[in-house]
Amino acid sequence: MASEVALKNVDNACETAEEFTRVFYKQVDNSRHLTSKLYLDTGLLVWNGNGINGNDKIQKFLMDLPASNHVLKTLDAQPISENLVANKLTYLIQACGDVTYQNDDVKKPFQQTFLIVAVEGKWKIASDCFRLQVPHSN
């Protein structure tokens, strides 16, 4: 019985992930100024190793980045066990794809992991870890 419920949870995670990432990337690419609303007030964004805490700072940071176009290639999600997250429904989403910036044709591969929580019927990002897959210069 418990495993059926668990399986159902995974399905929900995947469907939620699909919907959520659709909204997220659409906003990041087209209406960047609305994106910070998707983060918790106390949300954490780690962008290529730069840590940004809090909604306002995240908003400022995102606005400084050039215009983007994200194309996802893989997407998967799983629910996080309750005892780790103080009983708040939380999903772990991992997405990979390619992104192009500001009319530059070069596609850069990226990987992004979200932890989203349900808050008053809406899904918000508790933490977001984004990295471009580019070699570190020495």
Partner: protein
Amino acid sequence: MNQLETYYNQYLLNRVSATQTLVEYIENCLITENEVSEHSYHKIMIYRWTESEVKLFEVLSEYFVVTFVPVQFETQNIVSTFYTSSLSFVLKIIKLDFMFPHARTMYNMDILFDDKTSHNLFKQRITIDNIVTSVVSSRFNEMFELNLSCFCNDPKFVEMKVFFYHLTLLSHFKILMIRMGRDTRILNLSNNNLSQVPLNILNFFIKGQLIGINLSNNNIPSLTELQRISSKIEKLWVEGNPLCEGLDSITYIKQIVQKFPRLTELDGIKLNNHGLMMPFYKNYLTVPDKRTKMLVEKFVSLYFSHYDSSRRKIDLFYDSMAQMMLSTSFLESEENAVYAAHSRNMLNPEKRQSILNNKRWYAKRAAILSVLTQLPKSSHDITSFSIDVLQHDHNCLILIIDGVFKEESTKVSPERILQFRRTFIFHVHSVHTMSFYNIVHEMFSVSLASPEIVKNSFKHPVRNLNQLTLINPEQEEKDVICTAFMYYTQLKRVEAEARLLSHDWDLRVALKAFATDCKNDIIHPDKFENTQLLVDEID
């Protein structure tokens, strides 16, 4: 030398002795640019100066409107003295009556005219101009970098007792600076106590090839000072200045990049690699304390060294009810069969269907292990790893590792280099003072590494880490280690095993502990196989 010159040699000049004749003589020398005068040094004496010598030179330079580089500065009792070859300086002192004001005090001066020659002072017939030129030229290298760091304390200046008291004096050595300005690409002005960006020096470089300026470790108070630097600059160093304090790194970078749109490197960190302004860091730690760092380092090295060598051992890192998912964008093909069989991807219509059918959601340690052990043998390049720690508290640790690994060729697939991201969520369980970490969630994404990444990885040989440590060794392995340990230590088997057990079968650590115990003589002779042991041999 004519009669007039001999007459005035080593002549003490003051209000009384400085006659009109002398003044005319000096003026004449200045007009004719008499070469002799370049090597003739006059001793300037100032009485009762109590502030710093740099302040003295600044005051003199400003009041007498003259540029000079003092040599052999000394203070004895109430007299401060230095040498200069500047005849215009001498002339002005005479004309302004051998005194100068500062802070509502009048200071008196005397001059000992033509007291020494350049040969006396420098042991060679050279001028200040020669000395400065040779110092600056020696600091210019074949990479077109002019290193004027810590200029005033250059060993040659110290040796010759030339008090080049401020970097900006260089602007008066015009021929030298024009030559340097033409060719220099990178100008290093660090460690010069600058409280302003020295425009009078930079002016020589602006029309040339300058692409980088190093102003680190000075006294520049604010970012607005940087306006004086040309916006053509591509490399800039400003760390170690008061302007950096109180700014968080993001604002700091943003403000600087706005002023210098062509900037590719700030404080040695490459910025504009990919058309983006923000720097890339290899690691982010939400809690940057030592414990977290050590923990993460230990996990990463142990996990991956086992993953690469004896993969089945990684089961110890996982909780019994751990969940893992593998996702890739690999297309179904023979060479990707293993991945295809075990991975999920919501965005792949085929995969989506299979997700709804049989899930491929591995929700037990045994299941996880069985999947991971089916994947081809790997070799990870730990130097390529980027590790972000999003959370670490008494309950949970969230770790995201991005990196590259090489997959050995199998019957169906060639050797290839793959890019991965593994998100690990650990549950933390504390008993007394010890904390146990077990993976409860893992998301494993794999894709083909881009050609750029392939070119930049596996540059250093990958060493198999921690080869002397075993996690939960098999009896066979235990026997091998035990035999080795017994050979080195000559201990009885029982004792050897006990020691190895207490050190987690880490041979190195056990040997170290044994050596220490031996030195402290706390091992009972009964514990040894051979009682004729010579302790000295152990070391």
